[in-house]
Amino acid sequence: MTTLSLPSSAPLLRPRNRYVAGLLTWRGVTGLVLVGVVALAGLLAPWLTDADPDAQGAQALAGPSGAHPLGTDDIGRDLLSRILHGILTDLSIILTAVPAGALIGAALALLAATSRAADLVVQRLFDLVLSFPGLILGLAVTAILGPGRWPVVIIIALAEVPYFGRQLRAGVLVQREREYALAARVGGAGRARVLLRHVLPNAVDPLIVQGAVALSVGVFIEGALSFLGLGVRPPQPTLGSLISGSVAYLDTDPLLAAAPLAVTTALVLGFTLLAEALNRGARS
């Protein structure tokens, strides 16, 4: 029997490496540094500051000093401590909400792939969610559940579901028409096996990018909800509630708004840069 010689196994670019390569650009590195520094600051909050974020002090609206590096707020709470703990609250909210939204969206997209009727229902469901402006959606959910931490998680997850769902649905529609999907069916694989084993792994790549986008949108939504007083209940600090609380003192104590704003901006910018870097990596 003649045996063909095989190509020598040259170092290959696996799809995962494309993302790693994307992260190793200036965008990726800047994004990682921004997100990393903010996240680390949040995680290390108990060690970085001794002040209790909720403890009220005698000095209200004090300027920066040795005891309060960023000063205090209108009822004398340490601003630095509140920001650091606020980061932790924000991160814990988006890191629950976004994966939940992604999972629900992906599950719905797979459901849509099973039949034309299911597709119709799921698609209209996505349309329904998308047709509400984000704020109205937020108001509706808090009207039912009241303000708090979990409603914020639910709102963010709900807002992200259609984006993840549509993205995956589009990928599935493309991939399942490819010949390898037909080959799998001809080989005897059932519909579920073709979908989960062959089509899905080839369609999930864009969701990685969508995930990074969703994280930045999550920070944004949390901020907006807290700003309107629909977010996490006080006194627990979040980045959004810190900004909202500072508005009354914008002309007298601008630092009160500037510090949490800077952190929020860094976080959103970091996630956006990461998304962009991953996206470019995937396309290269």
């Binding site: 045996t3 010949e179 080959a183 069916r185 080989g187 005897g188 694989a189």
Partner: protein
């Protein structure tokens, strides 16, 4: 501006062979570190025709694109020159080059479906081409010129079709429109990169004749790039054979095809299946008497119920064990629909399929009838290893445990001529021919008795084609497989088949022993198909040894 239409044809006074219009000297093109073209040298006189032939990766298309310096990103001319009328295009600034493109050298591409802008009418696109290069002419004059161009390339009722959009034309007509666009400025050189690869043989013949006519009557020098020697033989007087970025041989087409000097040209010629060669199937296996697979009145349509497009009207077919049935037909004849219905991927609208005397049910079909696909790239899941790809049908049919499946995969890989160690690799590490072998191994995994091969070799180079055909023949001999061999290439089909069936508009119009169908067709459509096959001159005795 000399008018293409008004200019007298050059038939009377053939250009002298010394009049060099295009001269390519020591052309080198690299993509990064990799040299794609290495020292290509040729000259083209006014009104001459030159064919460039080679297998994939030989650098033939890169050479064509380098003529206009339209190389894809990363590609760059690293040496040599392309002289048009003594002016070196390779050294020209981009702005000056723009004045040459389309005006002096024009190009037509492979895929007429995607080369025309779908949202602009054909008239608009012609008008745009006519307005390029800063020509100012009244609108009415441009319109009448557009009509002339369309008539020149043989689009019927040209005047009334200017307002039509590309999707309203057939593939062949779209390629004609592409040629009309290329001729808008009466270019001296027309470069055609695989101009008919995406077209059916009958349409291919029309386009090749059109190109030859333009070359003959208008004196436009022609460069045709193709992997198909038959196409070149029909259109070009001179031939250039490329391999690995180098020219291995060039000379007059008839001479090169009948008495090739270089060994590579000889192997290339020997690998081309010829329509006049008799079927080799009888020597390979003898079909059984009882039909294994019987198809009766199979019909299948697409689209909504009211405006249903019938892909298969009513197909009757019999396949015997150990037999190869060649199925030929043009695009849209229903070949692929039939293949998919047979393997159970589509439910037919009417009619029935019976296997070994019993109606076929889905589960059985998926085990007994397996399929080999056309595209060796798209048909293997890029996320799985070769071993997993081949084991998938075994897992689906719950055959054996993990160790047994692994052993079976190794056995299958050996059977198709690959090393067992290939199982751990990713499919993208393999060449097209090797990938097709992997696809065949996957099809053989559940031990089927019928193999449906949908254009299994049309995406492969001729030398690889021959290897895959040999492999299929050997597997048939060893395993007694019944093979339904679907292809558009009649020469290949005759070579491998015991019987040939001709599919036309969803019906089998003729079927019979392979040699008889080719030599004495009964149906006029079969005769038309046969006449459209580009023929190669027969090599003189001994030249192919």
């Amino acid at each position: 501006m000399t008018e293409l239409i008004d200019r007298p044809p050059l038939v009377e006074q053939p250009p002298s062979p010394t009049a060099e219009l295009l001269r390519v000297r020591e052309l080198h093109v690299s993509f990064g570190e990799r040299a794609a073209v290495r020292g290509v040298d040729f000259a083209l006189g006014a009104g001459e025709s030159l064919g460039i032939v080679g297998e994939s990766g030989s650098g033939k298309s890169t050479t064509a694109l380098a003529l206009l310096r339209m190389l894809p990103a990363g590609g760059r001319i690293t040496g040599g020159s392309v002289e048009l009328d003594g002016r070196d295009l390779a050294a020209l600034p981009e702005e000056a080059l723009r004045a040459v493109r389309g005006k002096r050298i024009a190009m037509i591409f492979q895929d007429p479906m995607s080369s025309l802008n779908p949202v602009l009418s054909v008239g608009r696109q012609l008008d745009e081409a006519l307005r390029a290069h800063g020509e100012r002419r009244p609108k009415a004059e441009r319109a009448s010129r557009a009509v002339e161009l369309l008539e020149l390339v043989g689009v019927p009722k040209a005047a009334s079709r200017l307002g039509d959009f590309p999707h309203q034309f057939s593939g062949g007509q779209r390629q004609r429109i592409m040629i009309a666009l290329a001729l808008a400025h009466d270019a001296q050189v027309l470069v055609a990169d695989e101009p008919t690869t995406a077209l059916d043989p009958t349409v291919q013949r029309q386009i090749l004749r059109l190109l030859a006519r333009i070359n003959r009557e208008r004196g436009t020098a022609l460069v045709v790039i193709s992997h198909d020697l038959g196409v070149i033989a029909e259109t070009c007087s001179r031939l250039l054979v490329m391999r690995d970025g180098e020219v291995v041989e060039q000379g007059a087409t008839t001479l090169l095809l009948t008495a090739p000097r270089h060994s590579y040209t000889r192997t290339l010629l020997a690998a081309v299946p010829r329509l006049d060669a008799p079927s080799r199937a009888a020597a390979n296996s003898t079909p059984g008497a009882e039909p294994l697979l019987v198809v009766r009145g199979l019909a299948k349509g697409y689209g909504p119920r009211r405006r249903r497009n019938a892909a298969l009207e009513s197909v009757d077919l019999e396949l015997h064990p150990g037999e190869t049935l060649g199925l030929v037909g043009e695009s849209g004849s229903g070949k692929s629909t039939l293949a998919r219905a047979l393997v159970g991927a589509h439910a037919p609208d009417a009619g029935g399929i019976s296997f070994a005397g019993q109606p076929l049910d889905g589960r059985r079909a998926r085990r007994e009838i397996q399929m080999v696909f056309q595209d060796p790239y798209a048909s293997l899941n890029p996320r799985l290893t070769v071993g997993r790809i081949i084991a998938e049908p075994l897992i689906a049919h719950r055959v054996g445990d993990r160790a047994q499946r692994q052993a079976r995969v190794a056995e299958l890989l050996e059977q198709v001529g690959l090393e067992a160690s290939a199982a751990a690799r990713s499919p993208r590490e393999f060449s097209g021919g090797q990938r097709q072998r992997i696809g065949i191994a996957r099809a053989l995994a559940p031990e089927p008795s019928v193999l449906v091969c949908d254009e299994p070799v049309s995406a492969l180079d001729v030398s690889i084609q021959a290897q895959v055909i040999d492999l299929l023949a050997r597997l048939q001999r060893e395993l007694g497989l019944a093979v339904l061999f679907i292809a558009h290439d009649l020469a290949v089909v005759r070579q491998v088949s015991h019987r040939i069936a001709v599919l036309h508009r969803g019906r089998i119009v003729e079927s019979g022993p392979a040699d008889r169908v080719v030599t004495a067709p009964e149906h006029p459509y079969t005769a038309e198909l046969l006449a459209a096959v580009p023929s190669l001159p027969t090599p003189t005795a001994g030249s192919l040894l």
